[in-house]
């Protein structure tokens, strides 16, 4: 609690004690009622003061004004104890609200601890402690064990393991060594690292994330906008209803003035909009905060709301569902052993820098390779080379057929490399991308979370697309799409989806920016270090883990449910108490509950979002 809050607590306790004293002794009875003004003034003087000030500013209908009128009215009606109680509980509620909001703010601010204070940079005059913003690209910084990496950079020297939990929610440390990238915001756990800074602070991973989280509140969810608009009309309407209730029925001869004025006072107490106005944004704030602690960055309440109702989820293939790393997936020798086939294929390809050739080289465990004598690259077809007196061919089927070597066609998805030695067919290798571990499970989780269709959009060929689609259980596959085709396909999917639901597109964010923007919700994967992803996407999964998507949907659903509960709770109880007050069944105590009590309940309910349990 802050000092201000502690002071308030003492005022409440003192006033409460006095109030009880007056209640149990005869001092509070009959003509002694003005004694109640002492606890009233003690606990409520600032409310009265602010009501007066705000009236001067033309701010009628503000909660201080309403509370002042309601309590002064209660005194006037001879309900001195109630008047004090209303003020007392109002202040208790305010204090509680202030403490709860402070806590929520702090729990989000925990994220802000990512902000590095210093960077230790190596300069001519030695190791200098400077503001990270003052470090230039290309300078070398030192990060000692236990420190947070202040800037993105490449490891020049040293190896260590990094705690990336603050960025990714992932608890397993990641090992880094020379030549590898280290993202700012990670904590260096074991060894001294020297990093060559690759980006200025303003463009660093940490700065981007902080900016994103801080601005998340600006894009408001529909529920939030509704409640703000609603509150704008709610208070004046209820206040005018109170005036009408106090004046009209007695004029029409329906009872004594005192009775109707008392009922109208209830209205004034219930008319405070704070429970409404705070509960919904607090829920979304908590949802966004809870998600970001799990490595899921959501750029605004509206996206969280949208994520709660997904119907179609479309995926990019390479880098999203697959690792984006090619490897040899199939070896089909013809008349030789697998090792021999791999050996001669590698021998043929050893001078080539083509990605497929690199994969073949990696797949061959034998070293040394047969001595290469000469090699020629045939664009789009493969290589022809000589090694240890043999003439080798490795490449497409066309390459071998041109040389007059018959070979059977491979049907496996991926790129097929045909190999021949001295005019004899040795067999073929298939090089393909591999689905990510856990991708199949992640897609199952999505279906379980109520996603009606999963779609794969890929620029790759039909066979490769279908293979991944089948392996992972994807409903529909659209292959051989150029970036422009992907947008067109997403447009078609947008028209097909059920109204009120959303199309989610998941991409790796590097070449998918137009599609990410076009989809209802664009989700970028593995954004650690990728600027394009953070810019274009609405939701960013910080590590490459696809299972986070189902989790994001779960968090979104919980948020929306809690927001709805709060809305129904606040509107329901307020409406009920208003109705009961109008017909004379509710007293000031109930009105206080409908105001302060509901606020407290809504805040507690919203706070559940801050503590998202692990599934």
């Amino acid at each position: 609690m802050s000092r201000k809050q502690k002071k308030m607590l003492w005022r409440i306790l003192a006033a409460g004690a006095l109030f009880l004293l007056l209640g149990v002794t005869p001092l509070g009875e009959g003509a002694w009622w003005p004694l109640y003004l002492i606890p009233y003034g003690l606990v409520g003087w600032d409310v009265l003061l602010r009501a007066g000030k705000n009236m001067g500013h033309g701010q009628l209908f503000d909660e201080h004004f309403l509370m002042s009128v309601a309590t002064i009215g209660a005194f006037a009606c001879g309900q001195a104890p109630e008047a004090v109680a209303v003020m007392l509980f109002y202040q208790v509620g305010e204090l509680f609200q202030s403490v709860a909001v402070g806590r929520s703010r702090r729990s989000i601010a925990g994220l802000m601890e990512l902000r590095p204070d210093w960077a230790y940079v190596e300069r001519a005059e030695g190791l200098c402690q400077v503001d990270p913003e003052e470090v230039a690209v290309g300078e070398v910084i030192q990060v000692r064990p236990g420190e947070r990496i202040p800037l993105d950079g490449e490891v020049v020297e040293g190896s260590s393991s990094l705690d990336t939990a603050a960025l990714t929610g992932e608890s397993v440390p990641r090992a880094v060594g020379p030549g590898e990238q280290a993202a700012s915001g990670c904590v260096n756990l074991t060894g001294l690292l020297r990093l060559r800074v690759s980006r200025p602070y303003a463009d660093s991973t940490v700065a981007k994330i902080l900016d994103l989280v801080e601005n998340a509140g600006e894009k408001k969810a529909r529920a939030e906008q509704f409640i703000t608009r609603f509150a704008r009309y709610y208070t004046p309407v209820v206040v005018w209803a109170a005036v009408a209730l106090a004046v009209l029925p007695p004029l029409l001869g329906m009872g004594p003035w005192m009775m109707w004025v008392q009922r109208a006072l209830n209205f004034l107490v219930v008319s405070c909009p704070c429970a409404l106005v705070i509960s919904i944004p607090l829920t979304f704030f908590g949802g966004i905060g809870g998600a970001s602690r799990r490595g899921i960055l959501v750029k605004g309440g509206n996206y969280l709301e949208g994520l709660a109702k997904p119907s179609v989820v479309a995926f990019d293939k390479t880098g999203t569902l697959t690792r984006g790393v090619f490897s040899v997936t199939q070896v089909c020798p013809a008349g030789v052993t697998e090792e021999e086939l791999l050996l001669w294929a590698a021998a043929a390809e050893q001078s080539s820098n083509h990605p497929v050739a690199r994969c073949v080289m990696q797949a061959c465990p034998q070293r040394p390779l047969p001595q290469l004598e000469w090699a020629e690259e045939l664009a789009g077809r493969g290589v022809r080379s000589g090694a240890e007196g043999h003439i080798l061919l490795a490449g497409s089927r066309r390459l071998l057929e041109e040389a007059g070597i018959p070979c059977p066609e491979g049907d496996a998805p991926g790129t097929v490399v045909y190999v021949a030695r001295d005019g004899q067919y040795l067999g073929r290798l298939t090089v393909a991308d591999q689905p990510k571990e856990g991708a199949a499970q992640a897609l199952k989780d999505l279906k379980a979370a109520g996603v009606s269709a999963t779609v794969l959009l890929t620029g790759d060929n039909q066979a490769a697309g279908l293979a991944v689609g089948q392996a992972l259980g994807i409903d529909r596959v659209y292959a051989q799409l150029l970036p422009g085709d992907k947008v067109a396909q997403v447009e078609r999917l947008l028209q097909e989806k059920a109204p009120g639901t959303n199309l989610v597109y998941v991409g790796d964010g590097i070449n998918d920016a137009p599609v990410l923007t076009r989809a209802d919700i664009g989700v970028a994967m593995g954004a650690m270090g990728s600027d394009a992803a953070i810019e274009a996407a609405d939701v960013v999964l910080m590590d490459d883990d696809l299972s986070k998507l189902a989790e994001a949907i779960r968090i979104a659903r919980r948020t929306v449910t809690i927001a709805r509960e709060n809305l129904v709770l606040a509107l329901g109880i307020k409406g009920l108490v208003l109705a009961l007050s109008a017909v004379g069944y509710a007293n000031l105590w109930m009105a206080v509950f409908a105001d302060v009590g509901v606020t407290v309940l809504a805040i507690l309910n919203a706070a559940r979002m801050l503590y998202t349990p692990k599934s």
Binding site: R50, K53, H57, Q59, D62, E63, E94, S98, V101, S104, R105, I108, E214, N215, G217, E218, T228, A231, R232, P273, C274, V277, I278, P281, L282, F285
Partner: protein, 73 residues
Amino acid sequence: MKKSFVLMDLECAHCAAKMEQAIARLEGVNQVSVNFLAQRLTLDAQDDKFAALVEEAGKICKKIEPDCRLVVK
């Protein structure tokens, strides 16, 4: 120009909404958003009037919530 400011001691959610409305009505403001939970005011306004508008926004905040201070970073 677009800039963010901290609103110290912003305690009342309804007031935040009122501040947003009042500041949005000022001439020269393109867009304004008051985030109650992050205690931030983001102002997007015409460059030549920016300084004057920030001052005006600060006054509005103080008027609506007397304890609240707009901190210019």
